[in-house]
């Protein structure tokens, strides 16, 4: 494609400087290669391998039959907000007024975007752990803010280090964006560290934007909701979803919970850009909250079995692999070969037809790692391990 308009900052470009500030994804090449191949075992996925439990699907179908095809309130259906409020109180002991402190959104994706646009002024800094979910820095940039990456590593269990975080705080810092359990690392932040971060937020008057979309997918530990920590409810925007816990990625439904003032600001943007989350998805989400605990428990138990088998398999091959306690990703260290993470992923795909995501897709400090999603059938996981082992045998340094 020829560029009609110059892209540099002084002249008028066809696309905004804001959009241009987001670097194109470096792994396009990799996607293109993948698209041409058959019989690939993909550990590159980012969603459950379960279909949405039938009771949830059925509730949505019934609502369509009954003709629930209109807009709902901008905030989302009142019944859904009430049920959600109850759910958050029962799960984490945090209370949100369903009429002014909850907003139903088009996934956590929208909620994240709204949270940024509602709180970030040009030049404001948002601190976050790296490697991290790809939308975090992008959403800050789209709000003309400045993402400040706090590197985390395997030795530190990919937990954000409070002193390092505090050292990065400046007069321009506005918020800390926390994403635990983490995509891509599977790390969960232990409560004492969260408390230290909470103190930093209080000391420096920072907001916490907490993406807790994987809250239900934790193994052997309990999830702590950021807003439940002392003094945090008033400065936390909690982003939560249905995509991962209830296997509802395609429904596009999530929520934000937070102080009235912020939710009102987010609602302002939401009402102009979205109107309301899809009605049938809201009905489905209501059914999910009301009647799907058993399904979630079963799925979590199942992920946990696969998690343990897969991480053990990787370690048996010789990888150093930090134990992921949440989400459905493992983030092994590929240091037993001489490849960087992009080459590792490319060669593994080309030679063994196993797709993993290079750690660098999630930020520079993901170098030396690859992300593997174990939400894949047991036979496929085992076959993937066999192929990865063959690959390592050939390329071990």
């Amino acid at each position: 494609m020829t560029t009609i308009f110059p892209q540099n900052s002084s002249e008028k470009g066809i696309t905004s400087r804001r959009v241009n500030s987001i670097a194109p994804s470096g792994i396009r090449k990799f996607f293109d290669l993948l698209a041409t191949m058959d019989n690939v075992i993909s550990l590159g996925v980012g969603e459950p391998d379960f279909t949405t439990p039938w009771n949830i699907r059925e509730a949505a179908i019934y609502s369509l039959e009954k003709g629930y095809t209109m807009y709902t309130s901008n905030l989302g259906m009142p019944e859904l907000r009430q049920e959600l409020s109850l759910h958050l109180e029962q799960s984490y002991g945090v209370r949100y007024d369903p009429d002014s402190e909850l907003l139903i959104t088009v996934g956590v994706s929208e909620a994240l975007d709204l949270a940024m646009r509602a709180t970030i002024d040009p030049g404001d800094q948002v601190l976050m752990a790296a490697p991290c979910y790809v939308a975090y820095p992008a959403s800050v940039l789209l709000s003309c803010g400045e993402p400040v990456m706090i590197p985390t590593n395997e030795t530190g269990c990919f937990e954000i280090d409070p002193p390092l975080l505090e050292a990065a705080v400046s007069s321009r810092s506005k918020a800390i964006l926390s994403g635990y359990p983490s995509n891509p690392t599977g790390a969960v932040l232990p409560r004492p560290k969260m408390e230290q971060i909470a103190e930093i937020a209080l000391r420096h008057n920072l907001l916490i934007i907490s993406d807790e979309i994987y809250a239900s997918l934790v193994y052997g530990i309990e999830h702590t909701c950021f807003a439940s920590l002392p003094g945090m409810r008033e400065r936390t925007v909690l982003l939560g979803g249905f995509s991962k816990a209830y296997a509802m990625t395609g429904w596009r439904i999530g929520f934000a919970a937070g102080p009235r003032e912020i939710i009102a600001a987010m609602t302002k943007i939401h009402q102009y850009s979205i109107m309301c989350a899809p009605t049938m998805a809201q009905v489905a989400a209501l059914e999910a909250l009301r009647n799907s605990k058993n399904s979630v428990d079963e799925m979590v138990a199942d992920y946990n079995h696969r998690r343990q088998l897969f991480v053990k398999g990787l370690r048996d091959i010789g990888f150093s692999c930090f134990e992921p306690k949440g989400a459905f990703y493992a983030f092994p260290n590929i240091g037993l070969t001489n490849f960087n993470s992009e080459t590792f992923a490319e060669k593994l795909l080309a030679e063994e037809k196993v797709a993993v995501v290079p750690g660098t897709a999630f930020g520079e400090c993901g170098e030396g790692h690859v992300r593997c999603c174990y939400a894949t059938s047991l036979p496929e996981l085992e076959e993937a391990l066999v192929r990865i082992k063959q690959f390592v045998n050939r390329h071990q340094k």
């Binding site: 993909s42 279909t51 790809v134 079995h305 696969r306 343990q308 088998l309 797709a355």
Partner: protein, 161 residues
């Protein structure tokens, strides 16, 4: 890892090896093997079976659900008559039921005729059996929690960040 966890895993997939179960539960394969052996010895694990969609194989198998009404007997209740019934190889599954009849018997045979003969010649005449109603199975949609239709295709994007 608990005994129950092992049993639940094996109930879903009888082919899992002790090594696999150990890896999935973060435990030791020898220990898992011993627990399985113990469960087999205690007849907690009764047998390992395979779920087959026979509709996809040309075969002559007929299945009927037979409702059986019986008069309970002094001291032994329903058990003695149930035993006379479940000892027949044709009776694949036998449940004692609450409600309008007493035993639900799943009877398997090669033809409807064969099942009818079994019910009229063997089952109905048993002393204490006061009535039977046979329902022939026309089609099995789901068995043991598994839907027997065609396998669902994968619908996920291969890579998603």
């Amino acid at each position: 890892m608990s005994n129950k966890e092992i049993l639940c895993l094996l109930e879903k997939d009888a082919k899992l090896t002790p090594e696999q179960i150990a890896a999935m539960t973060g435990s030791n394969a020898t220990e898992v093997g011993q627990l399985i052996k113990q469960a087999e010895d205690d007849h907690i694990i009764v047998k390992y079976k395979t779920l087959i969609n026979w509709d996809k194989v040309s075969n002559n198998r007929v299945l009927a659900l037979v409702e059986v009404k019986i008069t309970p007997q002094r001291d032994v209740g329903f058990d003695a008559i149930a035993e006379r019934i479940y000892k027949f190889a044709e009776a694949r599954t036998v449940y004692l039921m609450s409600g309008t009849y007493d035993l639900a018997v799943l009877v398997e045979g090669h033809t409807m005729q064969e099942i009818a003969e079994f019910v009229t010649r063997k089952l109905a005449p048993i002393e204490g059996v006061t009535g039977t109603t046979s329902h022939f199975v026309l089609r099995c949609y789901k068995e043991d929690g598994e839907i027997l239709g065609t396998k669902e295709e994968a619908k996920r994007q291969a890579v998603f960040l």
